[in-house]
């Protein structure tokens, strides 16, 4: 594993803590999937989460986004504690993508992104039926914003294709566009390059930099070490639900414990699938 340039030059990590997880613990019965994990993410920072299969990375994401109610610990976003309700988490400004792509398969790419705008728009049933000027304006704005985001992630030409008919790499990018549509302060990406070829991976990396440069913080789970060490400002290595090492990409990749965890790390076979 050789890394050419740990942090790309020319951007500044802010002082403001966007996301803070404190002592998050998640137990399923007797099994501790996430144990006492703490993490801080600053403005304009890209944080990587690595670890062998079953290390609890996705479970940790689920705890952050309110899909699971953590057994212990708390999550704050911009200084405010987040209630463990996905809806409120999104409204507060945290958006995510899924490891096993979960697009709305029978909706078009544009509609998928428009669904992401749901929590930032307000037309209710009666206004939708009456179609006043306010409704039209909002609908038009939603459509424009969605198209803009599709262009942004490079799917501007696939607007009317059903999500399920998009190529795999495009589906991953569509998920990112859908997440961005919720106007987040922080974006959580769960294996954004899984199944991609090197060229697509490269493109995704540039996309993530672009997102970071627009002022968002990003947390990435990934197995592709080259990708993670090229991309991230800071990396956390999770093993068996606990933080093993935290530091700059350079520190983490040279830490013998990390290598140990990966090479000897086949003793954990807990299923990390999000059980829906």
């Amino acid at each position: 594993m050789t890394v050419t340039d740990p942090t790309p030059s020319g951007h500044v990590i802010g002082d403001r803590v966007v996301l803070e997880a404190e002592h998050v613990t998640m137990r399923f019965g007797g099994l501790t999937a996430v144990g006492d994990v703490s993490m801080k993410v600053h403005d304009g920072e890209i944080v990587g989460l690595i670890g062998p299969n079953g290390a609890g990375k996705t479970t940790f994401f689920n705890c952050l986004t309110g899909m699971y109610v953590p057994t212990e610990g708390r999550v704050t976003l911009g200084g405010e504690q987040l209630p463990p309700k996905p809806l409120k988490v999104v409204r507060a400004g945290m958006a995510r993508t899924f490891q096993n792509i979960r697009l709305f398969g029978n909706m078009t790419a544009l509609e998928n992104v428009m669904v992401g705008r749901y929590c930032r728009t307000s037309s209710m049933a009666l206004t939708s039926i009456l179609r006043g000027p306010k409704f039209r304006r909002e609908e038009e704005a939603t459509r424009l914003r969605a198209q803009e985001l599709l262009d942004y992630v490079g799917l501007g030409k696939s607007t009317e294709i059903l999500a399920r008919n998009l190529p795999y790499g495009d589906q991953r990018r569509l998920e990112i566009a859908r997440a961005l549509a919720t106007d987040p302060q922080i974006l959580l990406l769960d294996e954004p390059t899984a199944g991609m070829n090197p060229k697509e991976t490269e493109e995704t990396m540039h996309l993530i930099f672009k997102i970071r440069d627009s002022g968002l913080a990003v947390v990435v789970i990934e197995h592709d070490m080259r990708f993670i060490f090229n991309l991230c400002d800071r990396v956390l290595c999770l093993v068996r639900g606990e933080v093993l090492v935290e530091g700059s990409p350079g520190e983490v990749q040279s830490d013998p414990r990390v290598i140990e965890a990966y090479i000897g790390g086949d003793d954990t076979d807990e299923d990390e699938e999000e059980s829906a």
């Binding site: 809806l87 029978n106 669904v115 929590c119 039926i129 609908e139 459509r143 008919n165 829906a276």
Partner: protein, 570 residues
């Protein structure tokens, strides 16, 4: 889910052989089809039977009636398709259409011959017309089977000026009105059967040849004129009935059924929540209407104006909708279906029991509330016959017009909600509930809203139904009726308006007109559900979304849809 391909139902090796045959015989197929069509046309001018008392008299030559006319119609369609086959257009597949028309014609001719032979006592009584017709039908079928395979290129659809497209729509709808009015007035069962075969053959022929898709495309381009024309046609329908209430009664039932099914379509088709107790909402509205009416058996001595009754019916039904929808917070999928079924049964049992002996007297128990008077809007008595432009319009026609307004309202609500933030939220929930929630969609609220809106529409329909039926009884609201509503939605095509209208019409009309079938209608209904789920789960009229779903490889279609949207945006 299967993808639609253009290959006929043959195996690979057979296919290539047939294909080669077809290529060689392209023009011969067209000649066969034209000849067959001509024969069918001629057969309509010939006599089909010696006996002039059967099948509405088909014994006279050069004066076509009944099935003679239908043979001529089939002949004309076959001729047209045959001529088209010579020209080999890119956007039509006349061969497939000919196959359908050919099969239909053969079945039609055989049915006609059998009907004559059966009713007149022997094949000897079948005149030359029947045999000529059969020969023509066989030729058309042969032409269809031999015609070459065409890969449709939908991009070559002819673009007409918009007035011409609107004209096409108006003509098609006019034909539809004429066909409906004509069909409803055919009383002879055998003739009716032959007519159905004819219409089915023509319809499948048109769709099979790609013309149906083209019409759909024109319709998409001219939504507003299409809608207006459709309502105009529906509005004109009572004027074709010459004061007779028989068909109007069926028509009103269809409208109520369709309005309720559209409400259910919001819940099932858009939000993806299976409701097996939906008929309870129609019942709620009907009971509200009945209890607040001037019926001598009404249990509440309050008679507000009907407008208030309608609003109350909607309100009460939507409250029930919220109650029934509230478990969706905790249960989903099959379990939700069972919960709604349980609520539906509780509703029926409660209406049955609340007669004063068991609980308070609200519903008059199993006898229900009879003697509900007709509506009266500002002196306009719905029970009276009114004459407009010399045409008498009876009691059911009055209700028909009111129900037409109702269904227009329901369609408006459905389409506008579908194409809005709310509708997108519903579809997202249907697709992936957890992902929708993670994207900030208020899942629980939207589910409740779906139940409430759907229920209130059914409740509204119920208040009118109470007055139109003049009585309300618990046994009108059994589980089977909910199943029927669901079937209308599924049969027609989930999530579409047109599909549900078609589904509701088919399910209500067939048992009324085909009396022979009447006793077996439930048997056929059950079978139909099973067969539909097996072979065409997306319904008769697939929504654009579902159409895309079933044409995964069809990138052209996607492009067309895309260009349409761009035009809309301009």
């Amino acid at each position: 889910m299967s993808t639609v391909t253009h290959s006929p139902d043959t195996t690979d090796t057979e296919l290539s052989r047939l294909d080669r045959l077809r290529e060689q015989h392209g023009d011969r197929a067209a000649i066969l089809a034209v000849a067959g069509g001509a024969l069918l046309l001629v057969s309509g001018l010939l006599s089909w039977s010696y006996d002039n008392r059967i099948l509405d008299d088909v014994s006279v030559r050069f004066y076509p009636l009944g099935i003679q006319l239908y043979a001529m119609l089939l002949g004309i369609v076959a001729l047209a398709l045959g001529v088209l086959l010579f020209r080999r257009p890119q956007w039509l597949n006349p061969g497939r259409g000919l196959r359908a028309v050919g099969w239909g014609s053969v079945v039609f001719a055989l049915a006609g011959i059998i009907a004559v032979a059966y009713q007149a006592g022997g094949l000897i009584n079948v005149n030359e017309g029947g045999w000529v017709g059969l020969a023509g039908a066989v030729l058309v079928l042969a032409g269809g089977l031999l015609s070459p395979h065409v890969d449709l290129d939908v991009r070559t659809w002819p673009r007409l000026p918009s007035w011409a497209e609107i004209l096409v729509i108006v003509v098609m709808l006019g034909l539809l009105l004429f066909a409906t009015a004509y069909t409803l007035n055919v009383d002879d069962p055998a003739t009716f059967g032959c007519l159905l075969i004819t219409l089915l053959a023509v319809a499948i022929g048109l769709v099979g040849s790609g013309f149906g898709e083209y019409l759909g495309f024109i319709g998409q381009n001219n939504r507003r004129p299409l809608l207006l024309a459709a309502f105009l046609v529906a509005f004109l329908f009572p004027f074709t009935q010459d004061g007779s209430d028989a068909n109007m009664s069926i028509a009103t039932q269809i409208l109520i059924f369709a309005a309720t099914a559209l409400g259910l379509n919001i819940v099932v088709g858009l939000a993806g929540l299976l409701d097996l107790g939906y008929i309870a909402f129609l019942g709620t509205g009907a009971y509200v209407g009945a209890m607040l009416s001037k019926s001598a058996f009404a249990t509440i001595g309050w008679n507000p104006p009907f407008l208030v009754v309608m609003l109350l019916g909607m309100l009460v039904a939507s409250i029930f909708g919220l109650i029934i929808g509230s478990p969706t917070l905790r249960v989903s999928g099959d379990y939700l279906a069972i919960v709604t079924l349980g609520f539906g049964e509780i509703f029926r049992l409660a209406m049955f029991n609340l007669d004063g002996n068991n609980g308070p007297d609200l519903t008059n128990g199993p006898n229900g509330i009879p003697g509900i008077p007709d509506l009266n809007f500002f002196g306009f008595d719905f029970g009276q016959t009114h004459t407009v432009a010399g045409i008498p319009l009876g009691r059911f026609s009055n209700y028909y017009f009111l129900l037409l307004l109702l269904i227009a309202f329901v369609i408006l609500v459905f389409t506008r909600l579908n194409d809005s933030r709310i509708g997108r939220g519903w579809v997202a929930i249907r697709e992936d509930e957890r992902a929708a929630e993670a994207m900030g969609v208020n899942v629980f609220g939207l589910k409740l809203l779906a139940f409430a809106v759907g229920a209130s529409l059914a409740g509204l329909a119920g208040t009118i139904k109470a007055h139109q039926d003049t009585s309300v009884t618990p046994d009108q609201y059994i589980f089977l009726e909910s199943a029927f509503l669901l079937a209308a939605v599924v049969l027609g095509g989930m999530g579409t308006v047109a599909g549900v209208l078609v589904g509701a019409t088919v399910l209500k009309l067939l048992p009324e007109k085909a009396r022979i079938v009447n006793d077996y209608r439930l048997l056929i209904f059950g079978l139909l559900l099973v067969v539909m789920m097996r072979f065409r789960p997306e319904g008769l009229v697939a929504s654009k979304r579902r159409q895309l779903e079933f044409h995964e490889d069809d990138e052209e279609l996607a492009e067309i849809v895309q260009s349409e949207h761009l035009e809309e945006a301009k």
